[in-house]
């Protein structure tokens, strides 16, 4: 092709330059088209941010930065502060993540490394089925099954063993931060474990074989070869789970107790940002009230962004560590 005389190749028009350097028209159009799709995401995000900025201007003028640090929430007196909701969202999600990650990792390791072949597919199928249960069903199950069990079994047990910590003090009601976190953990476990399973499946078989050939046991192979190799993928799976926990609304609203207060006890009721929007938006009549709810929506945006950035930074840090080799 390169040896063809110049005259046979049509010179590329100058105006096509911004679309790339391809000599081929089709490629240029394809490139422009995919660029357009890519920009769609940015445009949608920008549009949402702009719309919210417009919607929450009133509340910003009324409360300024105080909105983030105040814990007053009284629609009757037009007093609004977001702190209890930010606290509830962040704490319940992180707590859920800390409960769900070890379990999910265990499931994924079992399914990829230890499980007999005939059991693999049924178990994996059941876990993915859990991911398809609608959140309102989780919520109702939470009210009628999980919360009574937490009140009568789990919370008294925690109070009698770890009751010296402020975390496990106060009356056990079954509806509160701990129950909310547990239900979130159950909901994000299928997501995290199926991604973890894919990540572990992608670890090359030759690495395992090499490790076994050197005389390593299953545990040693897992700890020194497989997990270090899959590290960044596993953290990525947890981030996916965290994203779902932050945005979850229906199920957690039904069990967290919906009280805008900050308490040191995990038994006490709490409230999340998504929940307060879902609960109060439909009946919010005052302009300032609506505006405050819109600002909470914007803050949820920011909190999610910040947590994602932190998690992303963690992935980078983890990815730069030397891989394996330590005993």
């Amino acid at each position: 092709m390169a040896s063809q005389p110049q005259s046979l190749v049509r010179p590329r028009p100058k105006w096509l330059k911004p679309f790339g350097s391809e000599a081929n028209w089709g490629d240029a159009i394809f490139r422009a088209l995919t660029l357009l799709f890519g920009l769609c995401v940015v445009a949608i995000l920008g549009g949402i941010a702009l719309q919210m900025l417009k919607a929450y201007r009133l509340s910003l003028q009324a409360f300024g930065w105080g909105f983030i640090t105040s814990n007053a929430w009284n629609p009757i007196q037009d007093q609004f502060g977001a702190l209890p909701f930010i606290f509830g969202t962040v704490v319940s999600s992180l707590l859920a993540l800390s409960l769900a990650v070890p379990i999910s990792l265990g499931i994924a390791v079992f399914l990829t490394e230890l499980c007999p072949a005939w059991l693999k597919n049924p178990v994996a199928f059941l876990i993915e089925l859990l991911a398809a249960v609608p959140s309102v069903v989780y919520g109702l199950w939470g009210i009628f099954a999980l919360a009574p069990w937490m009140r009568e079994v789990v919370e008294p047990a925690l109070a009698s063993t770890l009751g010296f910590l402020p975390l496990f003090q106060g009356p056990s009601q079954g509806f509160g931060m701990l129950t909310g976190a547990v239900i979130l953990a159950i909901m994000i476990t299928p997501t995290i474990s199926s991604v973890c399973r894919e990540v572990l499946n992608a670890v090359p078989g030759t690495l395992r074989e090499g490790s076994y050939a050197l005389g390593a046991t299953r545990w040693e192979t897992l700890r020194t070869v497989i997990l270090p190799f899959a590290r960044s993928g596993l953290v990525g799976a947890s981030i996916l789970g965290l994203g779902r926990a932050l945005g979850e609304t229906m199920a957690i609203t039904m069990v967290i107790g919906n009280r805008p207060e900050i308490s040191s006890s995990l038994f006490a009721p709490s409230y999340t940002m998504a929940s307060v929007i879902a609960n109060e938006f439909t009946e919010a009549t005052g302009d300032l009230y609506l505006s405050a709810l819109a600002e909470i929506g914007f803050l949820l945006f920011i909190v999610t962004l910040l947590l994602n950035i932190i998690a992303r930074a963690l992935v980078w840090r983890v990815a730069r560590l030397p891989e394996g080799g330590r005993l």
């Binding site: 009284n74 079954g174 039904m254 109060e280 009549t285």
Partner: protein, 363 residues
Amino acid sequence: MIRRSHFITLAALALTLFGCSKAVPPAEQKPAATPAEAAPIKLTGAGATFPYPLYSKLMDEYRKVKPDVQINYQSIGSGGGIRQVIAGTVDFGATDTPMNDEEEKKAPHKLLHLPMTIGAVAVAYNVPELTAPLKLTPEILVDIYLGKITKWNDASLRKINEGAQLPASDIRVIARSDGSGTTAVFTDYLGVISPEWKEKVGVGKSVKWPTGLGAKGNEGVAGQVRTIPGAIGYVEVAYAKQTGLAMAALKAPSGEFVSPSIEGVSAAAEGVELPASLHASLVNSAAPKAYPISSYSYLLVYEDTPDKAKAQSLSDFLWWAIHDGQKFAAALHYAPLPARVVAKLEGRLKELKSGGKALLAVP
């Protein structure tokens, strides 16, 4: 060659698309030009969730009477109903609490309140030890929700529930966390009873509760009351009856203890004079046998609707709903409107206009 054939396909596709979109408008405009006969008339409403079962039954039954009128109601909540009817995206709105002055000012034309049915809020509780219905005075109820009475065997509770087995356990207070007309009616009652409540907490669809847990929706409150021993909460009577919750009897101004019932709710409406605005609070009605936490639920309709066909079918439907439609209420645990209220509504419906012309020629 391949590329050319692609172009031809694309061009053909584009032609069909444009051709179609050009062909459609005239076909759609036709029925609009000659209304009523060809296409069914579609009315849309939105608002309160509390009367939704009744409204959907009414609209369903009305279709049997007038098959060419389709009424669609979205139960998005009272606040949303008010917003949408003001914005003009729906033909009528529905709300459990009357609009405030600020909202009435926002409406482009005059909006009328039309009471359509009466509902009530029941105080539900979970005290397995009790065999007879729990008796409550308004003062005790206020003190429980203020967090002042915290034990079931409090002296004041024992005094009015003589002989009842009241346990020494904590009272677990449950409130609605989502904004709702139910909360508005309940807090309205507490506010009427107690100046302290009015000052400290206030009256509204969402308030800052001094104590207790928040549950989402009637089903959430009912679920928590049912699963937490020692719980007390408030739900719509229709919901409490359908789900078989234990309901407290409340001391009415007349001195008797009244359990929530359709008769008690109707009696409350009988006892309150309806002003010209056609909206009134029914809580703490002084009429004998009246259940004290009762409330009207309203439709919001523009006095003048420019679209003649829509306006005509809407007023016909409303006329039917306040007469024939009322017989469907009791089976769904709503109280039918008293005759006096229907008479006042008749007068108001005759004021409905389209382009300045009255719609109902009924005597």
